[in-house]
């Protein structure tokens, strides 16, 4: 049994953490809130130089051809640091293109991702549709019409992968954002650091990426990667809470001595470790192409959203009045929590998907 990341992945995690600890502090996130640019371009250049956008790109396309484990640890560290760069968006787009892109699609986009010349994003939400399995956007022939909102990093991106209703069902389509019929504008969201946009497609050119089945497989992979991101963000919120609980005095003692505070911290840890176990299971299933992929992905998603919401909310609570001020960093985690939910769908939707996977497995076993 070896239920742990490889030594290489762990080394990459350490390297990423050191770099981001220094370069992507919460000050950087705060600066981004007021910035004109949709992301921190200087930081992005460094991230690209470190090879992170090339990690999952096959060597033949100019990438490093690394495994899913490496993508998972990078997602976690990006989540921990809140680095305002379109890394997760580009990674999720990379994952879809690597999984099912035609050679032409891969050649067109992946090399550009690897060298940082191009940025990708993905969009499934349409304002009202709460289910990633449905889409109002429609494809007729090689044209697509519809609205996608909120799309993370849309204003930074060159290409968008969007879900839409095609002849065989809902699946992903590739949209070159420079094509005619494509308009985009910034969309205001709760998360003030990670920018989102509204994508309006009016008879815009599009190309299918895989099939409805592979769309769902991509959702599984995306759920696992964003679970690691969520774990990172949740861990940072927990660390912040613990730090404050050790420092702040009330009624003549550190607030961390009060069980009302201490037990919240213990519960953060419990939820985080449960989520980490499921996320690791997901990373294994992704790497192994295991039959448990759907179930592992949904469980990782549900457990990590649970941990993130709890850590983000209770971190602010533990900070008291200061936590509620604009100047406190608590808001970053509190707000990012909602961005990570919006990125791929709610805990409710993924719980339902988990139970469906369990039902299917039980039926097979019977």
């Amino acid at each position: 049994m070896n239920f742990d990341f490889s030594d290489d992945a762990k080394a990459l995690r350490e390297q990423a953490r050191r770099f981001l600890d220094e370069r992507a502090t919460t000050k950087v996130a705060r600066t981004q809130m007021a910035a004109d640019s949709p992301y921190d371009t200087m930081l992005w250049t460094q991230v690209v130089e470190l090879g992170w956008t090339a990690a999952r790109v096959p060597e033949a396309m100019g990438g490093l051809g690394l495994g899913g484990d490496e993508a998972c640890v990078l997602a976690e560290e990006i989540g921990r640091s809140l680095a305002p760069v379109p890394f997760m968006s580009t990674l999720l787009a990379t994952e879809a293109l690597v999984l099912v892109g035609t050679e032409e699609q891969q050649t067109r986009w992946l090399g550009g991702f690897a060298e940082g010349a191009l940025i990708g994003c993905v969009g499934w939400g349409e304002g009202d549709a709460a289910s990633p399995a449905r889409a109002g956007a429609k494809v007729t022939g090689d044209r697509i019409t519809g609205i996608k909102v909120p799309v993370p990093d849309l204003m930074a991106a060159d290409v968008a992968l969007v879900s839409a209703q095609g002849p065989d069902g809902v699946q992903l389509y590739v949209i070159d954002l420079s094509d005619p019929g494509v308009t985009r504008e910034a969309a205001d969201t709760i998360d003030l650091v990670r920018r989102h946009g509204r994508l309006t497609l009016t008879n815009a050119p599009c190309a299918p990426l895989g099939t409805p089945d592979t769309y769902h497989e991509w959702l599984d992979r995306a759920a696992i990667l964003t679970s690691f991101e969520a774990l990172g963000t949740a861990s940072a919120a927990m660390a912040m809470a613990i730090g404050y609980a050790k420092e702040r005095t009330a009624f003549g003692q550190k607030i961390g001595r009060y069980q009302g505070v201490k037990h919240k911290c213990a519960d953060m840890y419990i939820k985080l470790e449960l989520a980490r176990a499921h996320a690791l299971h997901g990373a294994w299933a992704m790497q192994d192409g295991a039959a448990e992929l759907r179930q592992a992905a949904a469980a990782a998603r549900v457990a990590s959203l649970d941990a993130l919401a709890y850590c983000a909310e209770e971190n602010l609570q533990i900070h008291g009045g200061t936590g509620f001020t604009w100047d406190s960093d608590c808001q970053f985690y509190y707000r990012r929590n909602r961005a990570i939910v919006a990125a791929l769908g709610s805990k409710t939707w993924w719980s339902d998907r988990l139970v469906r996977a369990l039902e299917r497995r039980n039926a097979l076993a019977a």
Binding site: M1, Q259, A266, E273, H278, Q287, L354
Partner: protein
């Protein structure tokens, strides 16, 4: 990453499986009726078989009568054994907690006298720690041991002692110096449960059974040779026992109902608006139960991976019991909600699944307390893993007999 056995583990598994398949016989299932005496005899028969085949004390050093193998061997054995209903509970405290304490802190003479007979199932052990006044705050115990020549004389009362009425020996922590602060005046002994002055009275548990006892000690003589560890070192020795306890009572009890039971049940049950499995609240609950049950299993896999590489498991293993016990309670309550008459009616007519859930609901209440309450375990996680400051303990440095 992989979940496969290493070649050595696979080889051991094959050997264990072949032995269990050839020997499981009468232990394949639980008999329909079984009284106390049958249970003890049956448990001893299975333990003796394992002992003779070299499947006891798997991780213990050979010098103490163990097999000198790694923790993974023990885990493989447990996995294979749990495919059936072989009775192991009677020995879990003795072999999981008491005897490791004896060979970590006891004299060679004690090891020679007691370890093999515990391993072979001939002698049953109990852990005499908690008292009416002190459970979580174990260092507050009052049962005293007073030196008299080469003996100690023990007077006092222990309580909630699992299997005391079935035990031959126990490890008992006593106060030997009340003028010292509470943690400093304690000493550990081995006591013969059949000695004059020892009286174990089974206590009926709220769940119905009587596994635990109150145990009275009146002028019980214990030879100084039966001291485990130095005089005044009882707290340190007790910590060894408790550390082993946390390892022993981590996971979900074997064969306890989990998310799969809830799933099956939800498929069968009809609510006003259709099958329960279709309802969002039911699906949420199945998912939550899966996250907890399976999350602990996967967390244990992480620990096993570390052990398998010869490393120490990380601190995440400390979340197991606090998650398992409460999940068991919540899941059972929810499943009973779904059942006929709210799963309230008991008796011969009750569906066997529902009866199991009723049992689980009642037993989980004890599990949340035994071996460290939910609250104490959260304190431990917060203080030892996360480094938060400890609770204030006003009595910690006072002489025991001066504290309120």
């Amino acid at each position: 990453m992989d979940f496969n056995d290493t070649p050595q583990e696979a080889e051991y598994r094959t050997k264990v499986r072949a032995w269990i398949d050839a020997n499981i016989g009468e232990f394949r299932d639980v008999p329909d009726t079984m009284d106390r005496a049958d249970f003890v005899a049956r448990s001893k028969r299975w333990q003796t078989k394992k002992y003779e085949a070299g499947f006891t004390g798997i991780t213990w050093p050979k010098a103490f009568g163990g097999q000198g193998l790694g923790p993974m061997n023990q885990i493989v054995f447990n996995q294979e054994e749990s495919r059936f209903h072989a009775p192991t509970e009677l020995f879990s405290i003795g072999l999981g907690m008491c005897i490791p304490t004896v060979f970590s802190h006891g004299s060679q003479a004690l090891i020679d006298r007691y370890v093999a007979k515990a391993l072979s199932g001939e002698e049953v052990w109990c852990q005499l720690f908690s008292e009416p006044v002190a459970g979580s705050d174990l260092a507050g115990i009052r049962t005293k041991a007073v030196k008299d020549g080469d003996d100690w004389v023990i007077d006092g009362q222990k309580v909630w002692t699992t299997n005391a009425h079935l035990s031959d020996f126990g490890i008992i922590v006593c106060r030997t110096d009340p003028s010292k602060p509470k943690h400093k005046g304690l000493t550990m002994f081995i006591v013969d449960m059949h000695a004059p002055g020892v009286e174990a009275r089974p206590l009926k548990q709220m769940s119905g059974g009587s596994d635990f006892n109150e145990v009275f000690f009146t002028g019980v003589r214990v030879a100084d040779s039966h001291r485990v560890g130095a005089e005044g070192d009882g707290w340190k020795v007790a910590l060894t026992t408790l550390m082993n306890e946390r390892l022993a009572v981590g996971g979900k009890p074997r064969h306890a109902p989990g998310y799969a039971t809830l799933l099956d049940m939800a498929k069968r049950v009809q609510r006003d608006d259709g099958a329960a499995i279709e309802a969002a609240d039911v699906r949420q609950r199945i998912a939550a139960t899966y996250i907890a049950d399976e999350g602990i299993k996967l967390t244990q896999m992480r620990a096993l991976s570390a052990l398998s590489k010869g490393e120490m498991p990380g601190p995440e293993s400390s979340i197991a019991k606090v998650v398992v016990a409460k999940t068991m309670q919540d899941m059972a309550a929810f499943a009973l909600d779904l059942s006929e008459s709210g799963g309230f009616v008991t008796g011969a007519e009750t569906d066997p699944d529902v009866a199991r859930l009723q049992g689980s609901y009642l037993w989980s209440a004890g599990l949340r307390i035994a071996g460290g309450t939910d609250e104490i375990l959260r304190n431990i996680i917060a203080e030892r893993v996360l480094g938060l400051p400890g609770d204030l303990r006003p009595d910690k440095d006072l002489p025991f007999n001066a504290a309120a």
